[in-house]
């Protein structure tokens, strides 16, 4: 679960919640944080949270105000991550753990939490016409998949190259998986039980991703899909 707003970012990690407070007046940030807490009180209650404040210098009163706010919503503040020595000192005086961080982790490390259960196989291309690559789990092809080639796997399929053959991911019936390619121009795409004809009239000039939406295969620029995901906090799905 991730909530992104202008300056307050709340992220679930294996150590509980991490709240990142960005730029701007401290009181404004606290007000914004309170807004988040108030919107989903049940979600936060009983949780423990580490707050990342960057290099911000915080007086003991400011830290105390943060602690009080969290306390009102039943959240325990246990750590302050900061690069400011003064802030670290003040936080330590309040009995909090301190340190440099972890800073906000790149979302990339979240992806394996889904893929991690099914190790991916890496195959080096080109996969040529008449050749067929089959894998029970997820598959990464490094190189082109030529027209007339077939690539089939039970999980996710990622082609680091030009994809022009026939591809089938999620065999036999998984529809939550996707197919991504640097150049996505397959002759035919199948995800689970769903089939779509490819458009081979022109090569796209940006990486694309194909997935199932309401029973149809949808292809969109990878960047747009990714931005949408980030905005909606869908890293872990």
């Amino acid at each position: 679960m991730t909530v992104v707003s202008s300056q307050v970012r709340i992220r679930g990690t294996k150590d509980g919640l991490t709240i990142t407070l960005g730029e701007g007046p401290w009181d404004d940030l606290l007000a914004e944080l309170e807004d988040h807490l108030g919107r989903k009180p049940d979600f936060f209650r009983g949780g423990r949270v580490a707050v990342y404040v960057g290099e911000r210098h915080l007086a003991p009163e400011a830290l105390d105000a943060l602690g009080q706010l969290l306390h009102r919503y039943g959240v325990t503040l246990w750590a302050i991550w900061t690069s400011s020595e003064a802030t670290q000192r003040h936080a330590a005086a309040l009995g909090l753990e301190t340190g440099l961080g972890p800073p906000v982790q790149p979302s990339g490390d979240m992806l394996p939490s889904t893929l991690g259960a099914e190790p991916a196989t890496i195959v080096f291309g080109p996969v040529r016409s008449g050749q067929r690559v089959e894998e029970a789990g997820s598959l990464v092809v490094i190189g082109d998949v030529h027209p007339g080639a077939e690539v089939i796997c039970g999980g996710f399929l990622i082609v680091w190259g030009r994809l022009q053959g026939v591809v089938h991911a999620g065999v036999p019936d998984r529809t939550e998986v996707f197919i991504a390619a640097l150049v996505f121009a397959p002759t035919q795409v199948r995800i689970g039980p769903i089939v779509a004809q490819g458009d081979t009239s022109a090569l796209p000039d940006a990486p694309e991703i194909a997935r199932v939406e309401e029973g149809h295969i949808v292809v969109e620029p990878w960047r747009r899909w990714y931005r949408h995901r980030v905005k909606n906090g869908l890293y872990r799905e």
């Binding site: 040529r128 016409s129 030529h146 027209p147 007339g148």
Partner: protein, 265 residues
């Protein structure tokens, strides 16, 4: 002496396998290598016709394999070029008359007597193709810059690699400078981009090829045409020489200069 077996193949028919085999054979012999060109297209032989040796064929490859004659009896010597021989295909049989093991045994014999054994593969991907590819040390895949030919070449490259061959090269035949410039033909770069294979040569489209094939005097025999020069370059590359490949579709440089000179640019 252990000769090198070079198989010329393509997948699609009509892209110039036989022309390539004949011209490379002549070029290699001219460079002082004892060379035999072997027609593995049993039942549809035409290497002898293109070489102009049809009327001297007595025995053929199937006769040798079946023991009906000795290898020396079946070899036709090309009197125009020192050290060049033809082993013709049988016309009255088909591809199943020979199997890959017999081709291997035949090539073992030929390796003793020749520096280069050039095998002209039949089109297709059936037994005749396997017969031609199994004994090969080096495989040259010929294609023209056409989508269908390139697609078949891709298929064949996969099959050749599946036979465990890793000395595989691409020869792009019949590249038409003008058509590439007009955007009507795949360029050499396009073909290489699609096939991802090492290039051993580019043969420009040349009317001299058709005329010479009909006459039974391959272009490399007189050596004056652009195509002849390109085949000679391929032969030298086979010998390991570093010969730069002049791409007929580069928009600047020698080729453009040539084409302007000829009033074709």
């Amino acid at each position: 002496m252990t000769g090198q077996v070079v198989t010329v193949t393509s997948g699609k028919g009509g892209v110039g396998k036989t022309t390539t085999t004949a011209n490379l054979g002549i070029a290699l012999a001219r460079l002082g290598r004892r060379t035999v060109v072997v027609d593995a297209d049993i039942g549809l032989r035409n290497l002898d016709v293109i070489m102009g040796l049809e009327n001297r064929v007595v025995y053929d490859l199937v006769d040798v394999v079946e023991g009906a004659c000795g290898l020396r009896q079946a070899l036709v010597k090309d009197k125009r070029v020192e050290g060049l021989y033809l082993l013709p295909a049988a016309q009255t049989r088909d591809k199943t008359a020979v199997n890959p093991a017999q081709m291997n045994a035949l090539c073992r014999q030929l390796r003793e007597a020749f520096d280069f054994i050039l095998i002209d593969s039949p089109a297709g991907i059936e037994q005749g193709f396997r017969n031609a590819v199994v004994p090969a040390d080096t495989v040259i895949v010929v294609t023209t810059p056409e989508v269908a030919a390139v697609r078949d070449a891709d298929r064949v490259i996969g099959l050749v690699e599946a036979e465990g061959k890793n000395d595989v090269w691409l020869l792009i035949n019949r590249v038409d400078l003008q058509m590439v410039h007009r955007g009507e033909m795949l360029s050499v770069e396009d073909v290489l981009d699609i096939l991802a294979l090492r290039l051993i040569g580019v043969i420009p489209e040349d009317d001299a090829i058709l005329v010479s094939s009909n006459r039974g005097t391959p272009v490399t025999l007189d050596g004056a045409s652009r195509a002849a020069k390109a085949f000679q370059d391929v032969a030298r590359r086979l010998l390991g020489e570093e010969v730069p490949i002049t791409l007929p579709d580069t928009s600047s440089g020698v080729w453009q200069w040539f084409s302007k000179l000829l009033g074709r640019g």
